[in-house]
Symmetry: D2
């Protein structure tokens, strides 16, 4: 339960394809960059000038799977989540803070493109999940979710077992899109 309200509602477009990762237990975690546009009247010139705000989104669970599967660069989407600020260490050892919109079981996601939305038949080449970049220990804004105590492995992994001979962890609902 919450003793407060922390809610974010966004409608915007993805700046790139979603990045999907997996927690050690095989749960999907998806990162999105979402642009919301606003234009305002410049007080000097009287002209309307466009302004884009970029939001960092992190999704968990089933919603993450759907997002990873159906959203693409340019997709328009409705997102409901909560604000969360994470602390991380810069390479200079200093603390940095990153604020994200977290979409978990309490959040919501709606695809707003006519295509895909409920159809998604055009995904033919099913997106192959942005191939596992070799981890080169860059100092990252990537959240380290799903780490239980006593777990030493780094951040996200490929699904349970990772890239070995995995029979295939996720992606159950290939056919019927659950929304």
């Amino acid at each position: 339960m919450a003793r407060g309200v922390n809610k974010v509602i966004l409608i915007g477009n993805l700046g790139q394809d979603p990045e999907t990762r997996y927690t050690p237990n095989g749960n999907a975690v998806v990162n999105l960059n979402l642009a919301t546009d606003e234009s305002y009247k410049d007080r000097q010139t009287g002209q309307m000038v466009p302004k884009t705000e970029w939001h960092r989104i992190v999704m968990f669970g089933k919603i993450a799977e759907v997002a990873g599967q159906y959203l693409r660069k340019g997709s328009k989407v409705y997102i409901e989540g909560k604000l969360q600020t994470r602390k991380w260490q810069g390479q200079d050892g200093q603390d940095r803070y990153t604020t994200e919109v977290v979409v978990d079981i309490n959040g919501q996601m709606q695809m707003l493109d006519s295509r895909g939305a409920g159809g998604g038949m055009d995904q033919g080449a099913p997106q192959g999940r942005p191939q596992p970049q070799p981890q080169q220990n860059q100092q990252p804004p990537q959240g380290n979710y799903g780490q239980q105590s006593g777990q030493q492995g780094g951040g996200y992994n490929q699904p349970a077992g990772g890239q070995g001979n995995m029979p295939e962890p996720v992606d159950d609902f290939d056919d019927d899109i659950p929304f």
Copy 2:
């Protein structure tokens, strides 16, 4: 007008008294730190553990004046605004980003304490504005709003006319704040 939706809704309590500043044209700008609480069940222990999220709020215009006048440390408040991320320079010359909830003419604010709420009988003693701590020029997370082009003066000023030779607009949070 907006070509997208960017909305944040929060209910929480102030961590400190609001900080009021003024733009060169005498418009109030208020900064708040707002805590929203949530508890979740720890998967290990099965216990409910409380979790506090801190939000940085920036208010403008009339809403800022009301907030500056009636809100205090501990006040419970409803806030509706939008997400905005500002870029600033760390002392090391590197870019930093701070995400804030901006409450402007399109936002909303509701005081949720029985006291004050609509009464504000305590405004007599006009809140004395947390006195300007001597500032030690660290490069700060304080937004530089209300700066028109061709304006060289620093950020916020005291209200219209201000008190004399104010060498110093504000600046606070002396050491490290998480944003």
Copy 3:
């Protein structure tokens, strides 16, 4: 899952004590009347005139239990739910429609009174549930939730066990309600 968004967010005060009922399986259902206030400037007189809007709320599940237990006439509360319009038959046989804000597992409720909120020390005496007014069979706006097919009994019952010779649980607001 939803193929759309249907969300209502209210902060207001209860017009009366909540009315608690129970589905045949013992699940709590609570009805609230919630007032939200707004004032606007009269275009004729230039005066601010207050305007109260009344909302009919229906809560289910755990949230309903909490509401029934801790909320009282006058309580200030935050509610998040969805809009739903029910059709019912007037005594004249004509269709009537009542729009309610439904707060279920996907909704949220926050008590905003300092007292009670998280304390609820008054729950000992369990509030005696506004005693069952003898019902005079007018066909009413009371929703008939929780009715599974093949179930003939009337609407809500007393909680699991309860019933005995219960003359009639529901029906309330005898005369005029604004919906």
Copy 4:
């Protein structure tokens, strides 16, 4: 100012073309029927069954003009407004109540179709505004907005001048779409 919060957020599709009317002073008022879809799992059958909720929307001002001009049956739209319940008289003399989502200057509207949104080039034949139905005094759910005191005329009129050979009511912004 408001002493409460009353907010509705919907994403759905129009059931018909918008109906545009005008207040005596020529301000646009638009009525929409908006469907939001949700499916839920039937507890008996375990199947997902779709459920459509219909919402009655009333828009005022510039937003109404845009809606009347660009929205059509089937359009997908984001709407932010407030709940309002109106009382009206049935033909039997009895009170009826209708709850609407009011979108005024404080509300928001976003067209979510790729087409139209910002383009709307398909409106060529500018939709001729559902021609003024002969007023046959049907008992109506139509709101009677914009009635100042001392005004006896019925409900909405065509813009200044009314239904005669109206040269054209409104629609100023033919070229640049203000969003």
